[in-house]
């Protein structure tokens, strides 16, 4: 049977309903499927068991501080731009117990979190999101220190990527070289045509999920159509960002009046950092019982927009919103490059859409560039 499967790099075509068999194969292989679903007036990621739970026929209009669901008038499975959820929420959960410590006679006993990390199959991962995962891999796995919890989840994760054919008004992944075409580290990557999916095989594991699926090799016609859709998407980006020498631009303009301007508008609410698929900051909380005999250390998401984030002995390092917004933008687009060798932004547009007051980093950069 196995010899009958396509190999990595090959492209096949399946009928749309056949995607359910891929879901079944993933389920049988022990994966928890996480996919886009319609919930609370948005398309978010959550656990699913059937393709019927996908937001078929739905899309969303996005803009600065604005997101509204809309019906498409067709039966597209993946015809919507990225929503507020991120895969970060699964690989790097917002709250995670790290270990517990108990008093033990005269000493202490430390027990690490031994929960078996979940095996996720991520359904519908966009190119910008693949790029974001690669960035977090650098932070959590490829640097001098490894995060074992991230690493365990990441190594187990199955990735069914989707080439983006529906960029939103706030998207600029093309400017960041992060999309809309999926080029890296997926098990399967799908392109949605009107009545079929073209699927690129990314790994032998991915190929095995087609065992019970009727597939045929994609012909020139299908490949051409799929390619055209992705090229169209590339030309429909809602925004652009001029990335030329961003570190130079930002480091040379640390006292630019635009920082005062944005500080008047920014709420310092943390939304932009928490929806960002690459932001990785956390805080530690020690939670003890009334006697102090048992304590748990828990890691929770944090953000450089919180005053306490940069509070040190003697006072605040970033005492106002101006300093905190500047930290965010310069970290994302400049010092991230010094630190990790890549930009910290993949152009997914979430920070623009989910900012309650619609602050747009591409506009802030353009303003600084114009008046620099």
């Amino acid at each position: 049977m196995a010899e009958n499967l396509p190999s990595p790099g090959e492209q096949v075509v399946i009928a749309k309903p056949a995607l359910q068999s891929v879901f079944k194969a993933l389920d049988s292989a022990g994966y928890t499927l996480i996919a886009p679903v319609l919930r609370n007036e948005a398309i978010i990621y959550d656990e699913v068991s059937s393709v019927d739970e996908l937001p078929i026929g739905w899309t969303a209009e996005t803009g600065p501080g604005h997101y509204r669901l809309e019906q498409r008038g067709d039966e597209s499975f993946f015809g919507f731009p990225a929503g507020p959820s991120t895969w970060k929420g699964y690989l790097y959960p917002s709250r995670l117990k790290l270990f517990s410590v108990s008093k033990n006679g005269g000493g202490y006993q430390t027990v690490p979190n031994q929960d078996v990390s979940p095996s996720y199959a991520f359904i519908g991962v966009r190119a910008c999101e693949l790029a974001a995962i690669a960035i977090q891999d650098r932070v959590f796995i490829e640097g001098p220190f490894q995060d074992p919890h991230y690493e365990a989840r990441r190594e187990k994760a199955f990735i069914l990527a989707v080439n983006c054919t529906e960029p939103g008004e706030t998207c600029f992944c093309a400017s960041m070289g992060a999309g809309p075409r999926c080029t890296q580290a997926f098990d399967l990557a799908l392109t949605e045509l009107r009545d079929a999916f073209v699927i690129e095989i990314g790994s032998p594991l991915g190929a095995r999920m087609l065992l019970d699926v009727e597939w045929s090799f994609a012909g020139a016609l299908e490949l051409g159509r799929a390619d055209q859709k992705i090229t169209d998407a590339e030309n429909q980006m809602g925004r652009t960002l001029d990335t030329s020498d961003l570190p130079g631009l930002l480091y040379d303009n640390l006292e630019h009046p635009r920082w005062d301007d944005v500080a008047e508008r920014c709420l310092s609410c943390t939304n932009c950092t928490l929806v960002c698929p690459t932001c990785f900051c956390s805080d530690m909380k020690d939670i003890s019982d009334l006697t102090g005999a048992n304590t748990e250390r828990v890691r929770v998401w944090d953000s450089c927009f919180n005053p306490d984030f940069s509070y040190v002995h003697g006072g605040h390092l970033r005492p106002n919103i101006r300093a905190r917004y500047r930290q965010w933008l310069t970290h994302k687009l400049a010092s991230w490059i010094d630190q990790f060798g890549t930009s910290g932004c993949v152009g997914c547009g979430r920070c623009i859409t989910w900012c309650p007051v619609g602050i747009d980093l591409t506009e802030e950069i353009a303003a600084i560039r114009d008046e620099a």
């Binding site: 609370n40 507020p84 929420g89 920014c266 709420l267 943390t270 020690d286 007051v357």
Partner: protein, 260 residues
């Protein structure tokens, strides 16, 4: 630990609804452990026996609204080693501080059948306006988890871990879709201190600001956004003038938008 060595806890009430004290009784699972760890010396809602001061930990609920209360809070302070103001009334003046913007006699004459029986101050103000407060727990009502954390930290002798972030952070941590962005519902979450686990947005409503202003937020920018979403200045002003309306940051915002 012998009974004599247990820290003595007192709970006092001023102008308030009792909801915050109830949070202590609401600790159900942990209540026996608390009762075992401290001596409940004065808590009339929970225990008939009342013991005289001094107390190690005193929780004070409610705002100061009468001359009698001014004297009483001074006495409570004298009897207390560690005085904690709990809830929006004790930390900001509560919803009853709406009187602070008008002539209190107008309210008295409208509300009471025999206004001459009412002897009240012109204002409702937080405990810290009258005596030194060692710590404040925000919320309307307070969070029982924060109360337990405070008691635990006092017993162990470390700082309490309480949130200093906005309600938005809790929305994102629990995966709630932003009601402002996805539905245009005005929400005070971006300028409100977390601690409630963002319960209102999770039930599809905007935040009411129960935990009061977050440190160094930007209520004016948020109010401008409410107006961009179609609210009038008066509506924005009223949104800020809620349970924590007299907290200085919200007070300024509510006055700023009053005539916009």
């Amino acid at each position: 630990m012998s009974t004599a060595a247990k820290p003595r806890l007192a709970v006092y009430k001023f102008a308030s609804c009792d909801g915050c004290q109830l949070s202590l009784l609401d600790c159900e699972d942990e209540l026996l452990a608390v009762a075992g760890a401290v001596e409940i010396a004065y808590f009339v809602e929970a225990r008939r026996q009342t013991l005289a001061g001094p107390y190690d930990i005193t929780l004070v609920e409610g705002s100061v609204t009468t001359e009698e209360e001014i004297e009483r809070i001074k006495e409570v302070r004298r009897q207390s080693r560690f005085l904690v103001a709990i809830g929006a009334c004790a930390t900001a003046g509560g919803i009853q501080s709406l009187r602070n913007w008008i002539d209190v006699n107008d309210y008295v004459n409208t509300v009471y059948a025999t206004p001459e029986y009412i002897d009240t101050l012109a204002t409702s103000k937080p405990i810290s306006d009258y005596v030194e407060v060692d710590f404040e727990l925000r919320g309307c009502p307070i969070s029982k988890y924060q109360l337990l954390e405070l008691v635990t930290s006092l017993l162990i002798g470390r700082l309490p871990h309480l949130p200093s972030h906005s309600v938005c952070q809790e929305c994102k941590a629990r995966g709630t879709v932003c009601v402002t962005v996805a539905q245009g519902i005005p929400c005070l979450g971006p300028v409100t201190l977390g601690g409630c686990w963002a319960i209102c947005p999770a039930f599809n409503r905007g935040c009411y600001g129960c935990f009061g202003p977050v440190e160094d937020g930007n209520p004016i920018a948020l109010g401008e956004q409410f107006m961009a979403l179609g609210q009038t200045g008066a509506q924005v002003s009223r949104a800020f003038r809620g349970f924590n309306g007299y907290a200085p940051v919200f007070r300024q915002a509510s006055e700023y938008f009053e005539d916009k």
